[in-house]
């Protein structure tokens, strides 16, 4: 194969990349000089930057993982993501065992599967998952930016819509929600999501694999045997074995045993399986760095909380003189690890609030996450820096290009983004917060969300195949092939 790489203007692109790094450095240094508490926001910023670089380098996209598997039979990305989950789990277990993890398990139930299913369809339609759309925005894709906007607007609207949607709320949810004793400012009996959260989700069980096995998760044994070995490694290897048997065997076994077609032994299959793992090196390297960075972020954020004697970034915002948009409990969204969708809902929520929409009477904004000024929202700093980090990596590799949205992709971006927004709020997270982080921390809700996401991706691909066939029949009619 002949490979030609022309790199006109590469120096200019490298200068742009340097400019982005310098801009982030100036933001960090100048805000720290103004008030030392800004270092908390800068910590989020630089981890976001690392995530962006890793995602772009590894083409790390959950939509691509399952869609390419079902649509074109390429297992590379799903293998890479499973490797990344295992590596992140190893780091997370250490953080958990040392007692400074910022992770909390989520209530699990059928809702996790349904949420994942809706999210999975959405990510195939949109052409990228929540984190994938962010990094692709950094590559200059206008379509990906539209997806991000659609996710953001849908979420911030969905969490506050009552009216006719109240009629869709089961009576049991309403009763349970109103019995929770939430402050009067939170109108828990008005709003579908409020009643879904307080009346249904909060009543579901919460656990980890370690706790299910009666281990103490804050010990090395509990974290590594319960959460990592049983909760991550075994299911991930089983999933990869299934991927190998259905999609990878035919190709990868050929790479190790040549054209032999009979007498293939277990050893040959293990060699083929290993070959499939090695073929995802680029994604796996990105996954390794992502895993270490995710764990390190938990250490750093918890360290800063201990240093400043706080439990939540809301206190940081108060200390730097901004108490606007704090939740009724004085908190803002402050996961302490990689997260994508909640901060996207927050910035649109903040804009809507400024435009006169009272959206602080719901649980999502008013009771838990707040709607701080995006310029002071730690998680928004992380997402913006993620886009910047992806842009830097794309510029350095001569892969950056501004691409305005194609007219026929706009509808897919908006529909897909909306489905991902709804799925994220139903599942309390996206492919990152709802799947990647949860699975790696031994939370069964993560696998349930993932199960739904795979099912949704499968249905999404079936639909997409039908749609592209129709398009091609029209476009190629004159080619007479």
């Amino acid at each position: 194969m002949n490979e030609v790489a022309v790199s006109d203007g590469l120096i200019k692109k490298k200068l742009w990349a340097l400019g982005i790094v310098i801009l982030f450095a100036i933001i960090s240094i100048s805000t720290y000089a103004y008030n030392e508490y800004y270092i908390y926001l800068s910590a989020y910023l630089w981890f976001g930057f690392i995530y962006g670089m890793c995602l772009q380098y590894g083409r790390f996209c959950f939509a691509s993982a399952f869609r390419d598997l079902f649509a074109v039979g390429v297992p590379r990305m799903v293998v890479g993501i499973m490797i990344a989950v295992i590596l992140f789990a190893l780091v997370s277990a250490f953080v958990t065992a040392t007692g400074i993890s910022t992770f909390h398990s989520s209530p699990y139930g059928i809702h996790s599967v349904i949420a994942g299913f809706i999210f999975g369809i959405g990510m195939v339609f949109a052409g990228g998952c929540a984190s994938g759309s962010l990094y692709k925005t950094g590559e200059g894709s206008g379509t990906a930016l539209l997806v991000v906007l659609s996710i953001s607007v849908t979420q911030s609207s969905f969490v506050d819509i009552g009216g006719w949607m109240n009629k869709l709320v089961p009576a049991a949810w309403h009763e349970s929600a109103t019995a929770k004793g939430l402050p009067d400012r939170i109108t828990v009996g008005d709003g579908w999501i409020d009643q879904y959260l307080a009346g249904y989700v909060w009543d579901q069980p919460i656990t980890t694999f370690a706790e299910t096995l009666n281990f103490t998760k804050e010990t090395f044994f509990g974290a590594y045997v319960g959460n990592v070995l049983i909760g991550v490694f075994v299911p991930a290897v089983l999933l990869l074995a299934g991927v190998y048997l259905i999609w990878g065997k035919k190709r990868h076994i050929k790479e190790v045993i040549g054209e032999k077609i009979t007498g293939i032994s277990l050893r040959d299959n293990l060699a083929g399986f290993w070959q499939m793992i090695l073929s995802s090196k680029r994604t796996a390297i990105a996954g390794l760095i992502l895993g270490i960075a995710c764990g390190l972020q938990m250490f750093v954020i918890e360290g800063l909380r201990i240093k400043y004697g706080i439990r939540n970034a809301g206190e940081i915002l108060q200390r730097i003189g901004s108490d606007f948009g704090l939740s009724i409990r004085g908190t803002v969204f402050d996961p302490g690890y990689w997260y994508v969708t909640t901060q996207e809902a927050q910035w649109v929520g903040w804009v809507m609030q400024k435009l006169g929409w009272d959206n602080t009477d719901n649980i999502f904004f008013g009771y838990i996450n707040g709607i701080p000024n995006p310029a002071l929202n730690p998680a928004d700093w992380m997402s913006l820096a993620l886009i910047g980090g992806a842009a830097v990596m794309a510029l350095l590799n001569n892969e950056f290009k501004f691409k305005r949205p194609q007219r026929d992709l706009i509808k897919w971006a908006l529909i897909g983004g909306a489905l991902m927004g709804i799925g994220s709020r139903l599942g309390l997270g996206c492919n990152v917060g709802g799947f990647f982080v949860r699975v790696a921390n031994g939370d069964p809700a993560g696998w349930l969300f993932g199960l739904g996401m795979i099912g949704g991706a499968f249905i999404g691909v079936k639909f997409f195949n039908w749609w592209t066939e129709r398009q091609m029949a029209k476009e190629m009619a004159s080619l007479n092939i």
Binding site: D68, A71, V72, V74, K250, A394, E399, Q406, L479
Partner: protein, 83 residues
Amino acid sequence: MAIKFDKKSDGVYTLDCQGYVCPHPQIYTKKMLEKIHSGDVLEVMFDNPSSSESITDMCSGSGNEIIEKNVSDGKYLFTIKKG
């Protein structure tokens, strides 16, 4: 601009997916390769970086040979011979 299909000459086809994100470049490439005949050549243009690895892996797994990869300023031109 929609995705463009064209016949350049006998047995040589072009597929222009520039401006399109995943999964369009790889899905259209797969479907186009299914439609043309063994030995025919398909030139695929796209500017979605992650499609580069997907198309490479897809061809490698399906016996189609990428005979040339041309990358310039975020634009990709792959020349694929159907196996």
